[in-house]
């Protein structure tokens, strides 16, 4: 059965890039969210196997949303996909329970590998 993914990014373009990387490899994109608040709501509704999460978004950022999702479901699998590749931010997210951190721009192979490892 295809693994179900929720894609969170405020940029339509980036959601398309993530979808184009994952769908041909058999993943099902079950939903999209454009900010952290929407991500938390959709995670509760859709119960995806994995979330790809941008950080810089209006309304609620990705770090805050990941924290809320992991508090509600400590087994949630979240991969941060962000342009902000700063060491402290990366360490804070991993300590919080995020599975991996993909820095934009990325190749299809990089995001695919991060998602596959997060689902093991």
């Amino acid at each position: 059965m295809a693994k179900r993914v929720l894609v969170v990014d405020d940029a339509n373009f980036m959601r398309m890039v993530v979808k184009d990387s994952l769908e041909p490899k058999g993943f099902e994109i079950v939903g999209e969210a454009t900010n952290g608040a929407e991500a938390v709501t959709k995670f509760g509704e859709l119960k995806p196997d994995l979330v790809t999460m941008d950080i810089t978004m209006k309304v609620k950022d990705g770090v805050e949303a990941a924290k809320e999702i992991l508090t509600a479901d400590p087994n949630a699998r979240i991969v941060m996909v962000t342009a902000l590749g700063q060491e402290k931010m990366l360490m804070d997210c991993i300590a919080m329970g995020v599975r991996d951190f993909v820095v934009k721009p990325f190749t299809s192979e990089r995001i695919l590998s991060a998602v596959q490892k997060a689902l093991v």
Binding site: D10, A11, N12, F13, M14, M16, T56, M57, K58, T82, A83, L84, G85, Q86, E87, K88, M89, V103, K104, P105
Partner: protein
């Protein structure tokens, strides 16, 4: 008086070269560096991103429509004209976001703090005037075979801000 630091420039050059080349295949070279007493974008498409943390201010990317078209053509290769229209500004904003994000990682190397950026604000069109924070900027020219990208870096370090704030407080107390 706002203090500039040339250390703030190189990360943007490095990040722009890496990001633009990786996602579009277009080569970027470094051009002139100059000073402007306030940020005034030179071309028709402007993308504005705020920075906050130990550095505070704005980065403004400015490019002409022809280069914007080329970048979007490369980014959205194989997509329909309708998708291209929908994602035109969005994809340019994301390029600026990636350059700024990668530059902040370089600026923040060895620092035990986080430098945040805002989501991009994009303005495009002829006869458009953009009102920005009236702060001086270092203006970096980047050269591509399809036209230039102008990067205005109007940021100051936190210590400078604190010094200014305490100086202002001393003045008002006096």
């Amino acid at each position: 008086m706002m203090k500039f630091n040339a250390r703030h420039v190189n990360p943007f050059v490095e990040a722009a070269m890496k990001v633009v080349n990786q996602i579009t295949g277009i080569e970027v070279r470094r051009g002139h560096l100059s000073y402007k007493p306030k940020v005034e974008p030179s071309f028709g498409v402007s993308i504005i991103i705020g920075i906050y943390g130990f550095l505070t201010g704005q980065i403004v990317y400015s490019l002409d429509g022809k280069l914007a078209d080329r970048l979007v053509d490369k980014l959205l290769e194989g997509k329909s004209p309708q998708q291209r229209k929908i994602m035109f500004l969005d994809s340019l904003g994301e390029v600026a976001n990636m350059i700024t994000g990668n530059a902040t990682a370089l600026l923040n190397q060895g620092n035990d703090s986080v430098l945040n950026i805002t989501t991009p604000a994009i303005a495009a069109g002829d006869n458009l005037s953009v009102h920005l924070i009236p702060k001086p900027a270092l203006v970096l020219g980047l050269i591509t075979m399809y036209g230039p990208i102008e990067v205005s870096i109007a940021v100051e370090e936190k210590e400078t801000l604190q010094e200014t704030e305490s100086f202002d407080a001393m003045l008002s107390e006096a």
